[in-house]
């Protein structure tokens, strides 16, 4: 007989004994318990319904304007001729830069913290708390950092794609590190011990055993972090994406705008045609993000390994 079943039987038996000795619970207690259950379901449905209404609302508002020209037209003087082409290209450039910067740095930091760092040392604990805290710093503060240090100040790049990429890379790095650490931690110690006992060095163990085993988890974490970066708007307002751009970016030193910022820019023109256009942009962005998130969750369920 499995242990959990045994515990359940013992608990049920003890409960029956208690009820036998003290009598059933008063009826009021039972109806209150049902009411509580109903209340919990209500709260849960508020969350799920809220999400559903948010999606439906954007869909209904944006549908009249939804069409292929959203993807083929850039920003233009008239709302009927405007689309999101230059914003979509800007997002691709920006996110490409973010991936190139965050994946090696994030995975490297995660390997150091999980495989090398001695947790008794205060500096390693400081790094850990610092990363947790950075993950919760408001995103607009990263925008201020980008404006003060990357766009102007020491790096002085100006309002270009690269400035936006660096700003967003710093923003999502903590998320990538935390996700990669969890994936690495899920590899059982026996794998490492076996490898080390056979004479492999620590790096050989990481390179040939730990990393291959944790790649699905790391990939999932990276996709979730990148999809967060795609939807991020506030910091990019400060590092140049809100400037009016009507051309397609062709490199990392061009001016740019990105999808969510373009949505916000159209929205803030406060004319009905532009607000509908903004809603159509939200449909495009949500479709992209839900596809990415679903893929990440599928990946996690497909490759989740039980050791």
């Amino acid at each position: 007989m499995p242990g959990s079943q045994r515990v359940r039987l013992a608990t049920a038996g003890a409960r029956a004994e208690t009820v036998g000795a003290l009598g059933q619970q008063p009826a009021g207690e039972r109806s209150r318990s049902y009411a509580f259950h109903a209340l919990l379901l209500l709260m849960l449905s508020v969350a799920v319904l809220g999400l559903a209404i948010l999606l439906i609302d954007a869909f209904v508002e944006g549908l009249p304007r939804f069409g292929i020209d959203l993807f083929t037209e850039g920003t233009s003087a008239l709302p009927e001729e405007s689309g999101f082409l230059n914003a979509i290209l800007g997002t691709l450039f920006l996110i490409g830069g973010v991936i190139v910067m965050t994946v090696p740095l994030g995975v490297g930091a995660a390997i150091y913290l999980e495989e090398y760092a001695d947790r008794e040392r205060w500096w390693n604990r400081a790094i850990e708390v610092n990363i947790q805290n950075l993950a919760a710093v408001p995103s607009i503060v990263y925008g201020i950092l980008g404006l003060g240090v990357i766009v102007r100040g020491p790096l002085d790049l100006g309002f270009v794609v690269l400035a936006g990429s660096i700003t967003l890379a710093l923003l999502v790095l903590p998320t990538v590190i935390i996700a990669a650490r969890e994936a690495i931690r899920a590899v059982p110690p026996s794998i490492r011990e076996g490898s080390l006992a056979l004479g492999a060095t620590q790096w050989q163990t990481v390179r040939r055993q730990v990393l291959p085993a944790s790649i699905p988890g790391i990939t999932t974490g990276v996709i979730l972090a990148i999809s967060r970066a795609i939807g991020e708007t506030a910091p990019l307002l400060l590092v140049g994406a809100a400037v009016f751009v009507s051309f397609n970016p062709s490199g990392f030193f061009d001016g740019y705008t990105v999808l969510p910022v373009q949505i916000f820019t159209y929205f803030s023109r406060a004319q009905d045609e532009y607000i509908v256009l903004a809603a159509a942009g939200i449909i495009v962005m949500l479709a992209l993000l839900i596809a990415m998130n679903s893929f990440a969750i599928w990946l996690r369920n497909r490759y989740e390994q039980k050791w």
């Binding site: 509580f36 259950h37 919990l40 950075l134 919760a136 710093v137 607009i140 003060g148 060095t201």
Partner: protein, 321 residues
């Protein structure tokens, strides 16, 4: 230990050489790799230092011209219209209004969802609901801002009862707050659920064996045992609401307001930063420096809440894991 000593001693006595476990030659490559990996981790410290430095420099310049006391306790915020005045309280109260309405939604909904997922839901239901919450957490804030403006505001204008006074403005703190509430539900739900799931099953079984109903087990046993995690989730949710930019920028308006309000337009701290940043300002102006002064205030407040929340999460982890 004694056994091991005995074996070692007998080995020495017999004169058999013990195998050497150290590497035959020093592994410099290994050390270089370790140093490079450590460098990646140290980059996070560099980021924090860069944030602080980039905020403090212009803030110091700002306080050369505006008194700290006038800034923190002044009740009039009009940095562009003469006579200029730099009292930050209206922005702080704007943020408070929005956060308050957000919490009124997010705390009951988030905790209700957490208790349901941890105590009531069957594994299959949980497998369906948790990804739904994750999708909610992944929706960009610009979509929440649009939702607040195009759906929440019209609905509350429609159902607004007359005895509460004037109908809400097109831009109002309430709609922005409610949308932010929905936005932080996944944060509160997932961290609280983690904390509740970490409560050992033995506590539940003990209470159940004593005849307690499921509600009592959830409210009197699991909830108090997970309290530090629950508080941590709410503190983190508040920090997120305070730092949220797009929703307040799109739905709450840009009017500094000294009253805690639902139906009027307010300007939150983050909305001010967003508005100034999207306009044209010269680098050397006092107005440019206000972004940094206000940003530093935002950073310090959220930093305090984040550190508190990290400490609380660590506490329940220490007790149960």
């Amino acid at each position: 230990m004694e056994a091991r000593d005995a074996i070692a001693a007998s080995g020495l006595a017999a004169g058999t050489p013990r195998p050497r476990l150290e590497a035959a030659r020093p592994r410099y490559g290994e050390r270089v790799i370790k140093a490079l990996l450590a460098l990646c981790a140290v980059l996070s410290i560099v980021t924090t230092v860069a944030i602080v430095v980039s905020l403090v420099g212009p803030t110091v310049e700002f306080f050369r011209e505006v008194g700290i006391f006038d800034f923190l306790f002044g009740t009039n915020w009009s940095p562009t219209i003469s006579p200029e005045s730099y009292g930050v309280l209206p922005l702080v109260i704007g943020t408070l209004s929005v956060t308050l309405w957000g919490l009124i939604v997010a705390v009951p909904v988030g905790l209700g969802a957490a208790i349901y997922l941890s105590e009531y839901a069957r594994p299959r239901v949980r497998k369906l609901l948790k990804p739904t919450l994750e999708v909610l957490a992944g929706v960009p804030t610009v979509a929440f801002g649009f939702f607040a403006f195009s759906f929440v505001t019209p609905v509350i204008q429609d159902i607004w009862p007359g005895f509460l006074g004037d109908e809400p403005n097109v831009f109002n703190a309430g709609a922005a707050g409610l949308a932010i509430g929905l936005l932080i539900v996944p944060i509160i739900a997932s961290i609280s659920e983690d904390a509740m799931s970490a409560v050992p099953a033995g506590l539940r079984e003990g209470a159940y064996a004593l005849g307690a109903s499921k509600m009592r087990v959830a409210l009197r046993v699991v909830f108090p045992a997970a309290l530090s995690g629950v508080v941590a989730s709410i503190v983190l949710g508040v920090s997120r609401a305070v730092g949220e930019t797009l929703v307040v920028l799109m739905a709450a308006g840009n009017t500094p307001n000294l009253d805690l309000t639902f139906s009027e337009s307010v300007q939150a701290i983050t909305a001010y930063i967003g508005v100034v940043a999207t306009g044209d300002i010269s680098t050397q102006s006092l107005e440019y420096n206000t972004i940094f002064a206000v940003g530093l205030l935002l950073f310090v407040v959220t930093l305090g809440m984040n550190l508190l929340s990290i400490r609380l999460v660590r506490r329940y982890r220490e007790v149960y894991e």
